[in-house]
Symmetry: C2
Subunit: 519 residues, 2 copies
């Protein structure tokens, strides 16, 4: 094991501690307040505007187009976060979530699938870094892997019953971390190495032949009971999650449900429970399919909320809603409309460090703690879930193999403080995704206060946006504010070096690209 991060973890997070004078199960002493159940509902590839719930200051045409009544219901009972960030790519986000590390540190910056295989598109001019394409893990032993401690394991060890449902995507195939049980989940429904799915359709056995053989590395495992039954994958996962909750209810433990839908990742199959309605509304087939996937996801959200209410658990359950990166906007094969506009007013989409790729719809419901119908405009980051969820669970002392970069957003929930004050958020993407587009590939970025700086490794180009005034990142004001550019470049460069981040190199010279504060 690598001990070197322990002190760092301690110094960065007031929650981390080397001392552990309790028993192996770090539960609070009996008699303390009952610990809440926690449901983290994570949607895949859902954009900031893919909902009827307006996260912007005004309602957009997308808010009119999509129907997500249960997101509205959840927001009415909780707090909406209008500046919640994830990474630009699923693996990066999920690895930050499970380890609490920023993506520049854990180096799982592009998407993972097969062991020892990079998924970067090749470049004629640039050598890409040897990033962690095997994902994250709790154990040493596999190359190109970041080793961290799972907050789920900490929850489990503190007495939580832990349930995984849906997409896992933490470790490449044939690495220990491919199985959600490696991360401390006691129940695994349909999770494995893949970050996508072969099919939502039970008619296709979610990507299996009639004989049960997978047709793809992305065939969904574990849903055999629903093959050929006409059950859309989103629904099948929801029913399995409800079964797991029924069981959890009997266990008399607090539970943590990680409801990580495969929806609304491609293939954009039609969820026929909702598709016809959107066609009647005049949407194109592609748009209607997309809208049907969203409403199917929203129905699942409602089903889980219903379960809590019916079972008397609503008041004692924290419910968090989040997405893992921006909506897909770079692939005309799947999406109608002008490419890179489908997250408007945000620019670009999945894969981009522009807001369209990283700003997410986030809601937190917590009766008695979070004010119903409230709204928070402070920024938070995906790795912040790590310390926050542990704090919610009353797990105050824990050890981690690597440092926790996330900062608890509990003060925002309680209205007792602003942890984003003076804080910078950082993204690193020294990779090349499968698609091109605005803000996509070979870049890094920093957000601080109103400002965001995006730096492109290959060209040395720097873009500065005032996010508060220009949410669409249409006006690069770098020339007008050289001081801000200098300041943010320095902070970004220092952070990237501090966490031992990676950067590409020029094929022509073999030299590494400069850090943002070196040009």
């Amino acid at each position: 094991m690598d001990y070197k991060y322990l002190l760092t973890a301690l110094s960065l997070s007031p929650l981390a501690s080397l001392a552990n004078d309790g028993p192996a199960t770090d539960a609070p002493p009996a008699g303390e307040q009952k610990r809440p159940n926690i449901i983290l509902f994570l949607v895949d590839d859902m954009g900031w505007q893919d909902t009827s719930l307006p996260f912007w200051t005004q309602k957009t045409p997308y808010n009119e187009m999509y129907e997500t009544p249960n997101m509205e219901r959840l927001a009415g009972q909780g707090m909406m976060f209008t500046q919640a960030y994830a990474c630009n790519i699923s693996s990066a986000t999920r690895c930050s979530l499970i380890t609490g590390a920023n993506n520049a540190r854990h180096r799982v910056t592009n998407w993972t699938l097969e062991r020892d295989k990079t998924t970067d598109r090749k470049s004629e001019t640039m050598d890409l870094p040897d990033w962690n394409y095997n994902g994250v893990s709790q154990v040493e032993g596999i190359s190109n892997t970041y080793v961290g401690t799972s907050f789920v394991d900490l929850l489990r060890r503190s007495g939580y019953h832990t349930i995984h449902c849906g997409k896992a995507h933490w470790g490449a195939i044939d690495t220990p971390a491919e199985n959600p049980t490696h991360w401390g989940f006691e129940v695994n429904i349909a999770g494995h190495a893949a970050g996508g799915l072969a099919s939502y359709l039970s008619e296709r056995n979610y990507g299996h032949t009639r004989d049960g053989k997978p047709t793809s590395l992305m065939s969904i495992p574990g849903l055999e009971d629903y093959w050929g039954t006409g059950t859309f994958a989103t629904e099948a996962l929801t029913r399995e999650a409800v079964k797991a909750l029924d069981k959890a209810k009997k266990y008399n433990q607090p539970f943590f449900l990680y409801m990580a839908h495969y929806a609304i990742h491609v293939p954009l199959d039609k969820d026929m429970r909702f598709f016809p309605k959107y066609v009647r509304k005049g949407l194109s087939d592609k748009d209607a399919a997309y809208a049907s996937l969203i409403e199917g996801m929203d129905k699942s959200l409602g089903d889980l909320m219903d379960w809590l209410e019916k079972n008397g658990e609503a008041d004692n359950t924290v419910f968090l809603f989040m997405s893992d990166n921006g909506g897909l906007a770079a692939e005309p094969y799947w999406r109608d409309g002008v490419p890179h506009t489908q997250n408007a007013p945000l620019n670009s989409g999945k894969g981009s460090l522009y807001e369209g790729g990283i700003r997410e719809p986030m809601i937190v419901r917590w009766p008695g703690v979070v004010k119903p119908g409230s709204r928070c405009d402070k920024y938070v980051m995906i790795e912040d879930f790590y310390p926050t969820l542990l704090e919610m669970a009353g797990v105050e002392k824990y050890e981690t193999t690597g440092p926790v970069d996330g900062v608890s957003f509990m003060p925002l929930l309680k209205g007792t403080g602003d942890p984003s004050e003076g804080r910078a958020l950082v993204w690193n993407f020294p990779n090349i995704w499968g698609n091109d587009g605005p803000g996509i590939n070979l870049n890094c970025a920093i957000r601080k206060d109103d400002w965001k700086l995006v730096y492109y490794y290959e060209t040395g180009r720097k873009e500065l946006f005032n996010i508060t005034e220009d949410i669409s990142e249409k006006r690069n004001v770098a020339e007008a504010h050289p001081d801000v550019v200098r300041r943010l470049s320095k902070e970004l460069g220092q952070y990237l070096r501090k966490v031992d981040a990676q950067r590409p190199a020029f094929k022509a010279t073999g030299k590494l690209c400069p850090w943002p504060d070196e040009v």
Copy 2:
């Protein structure tokens, strides 16, 4: 959580420690010796003589009847233990194994299945204690449950990949501990709450209808791929275990495989790969079925040994063979021959505190550490596996919720000492099993040096045997050795009170039965 046992654990076991100054994963620092894989091969209801490998000083007719070439092979490469003890009942043994606690302490003294239901047969004269019929758990929250720390969880947290295959039987249905993943197993093949099986036959889908509905609480889960394929359950489990080992090999972690066969528990289905041979040898149908189950289990043992050799892991793997209680001898419906004789020279069988119920065939193979073809006549107890396996894995510092009663038998393996010197072993069975017979029901026992005292709660009767001279426990020498009876009664009574053991009460008076040193 209950902190009170921590200091006790510390004082009882030199391995337990409150201090934990390493990271969450307690792996030894890099550069230390490679940690061995560990396979614990636990057979169900297998008696001491149910093998062609002679564990006694002489070969018995049973050794001639049964054929277990792979046990002979394993013993030839390792150490046979001729006085290895378990409890008289499966649940008690398995709960001691997983928590390290003696059965008098954990109070899972009879067998478990359904939540909040005792399995004791009722008595006209005795009130039975409210024992832990919900089993053991790692968390609080369920009544009638002993809370302990799983050594498997400690292995996992130290970096081991952990695989469960077969019978689990730790927690009753609908308790958290029913699922092997609760105990720290990352892979669960076919394990659940039940301690038995509906059927070994794939033709019966191991106890499921054609529609896949379980026909019993003991239907084996998770073997759907083998339904209708003509694969005996023992073989199906073995093939799944081999698949899990193939996967484990890729993970580059040491692995722990808990191969806990359902064999040779009733129903005594015929394993047709071996049954005809035994019929030809002249055995009755029942005897031949029993022998076929044993040889099927032995074939599985050989398959795992073959896997290790083919995969270059034999030299770096500790292989332990054990059974969970004595052979079934109290049920003429299943067994031919005179009841209670089928473990001869041992008296009685499963359920009994006589040797036939508790003495087990045990073998340990560990190249480079354990002398091949060696034999150890010192006694060891089922809870001793707990500290021993952790010591084998190099896990030196760990915390446990309850005390570890087991004592490492590493000195016996290495030939460096005798931990059984001056040690007493204790069993408690204040219950009534489904069957009667010699040494069965409402008793407790102590073994020390050559002596064994059995005390019967209802009658106050005490039996003293010199096990070394009278392995068949035919000669009660209590009257001839009142001093020994007094000494052992005192030690037994003191131990039972110390661990807060349970005892029955008389219905007539409502009074608890006296402890053995009170009469």
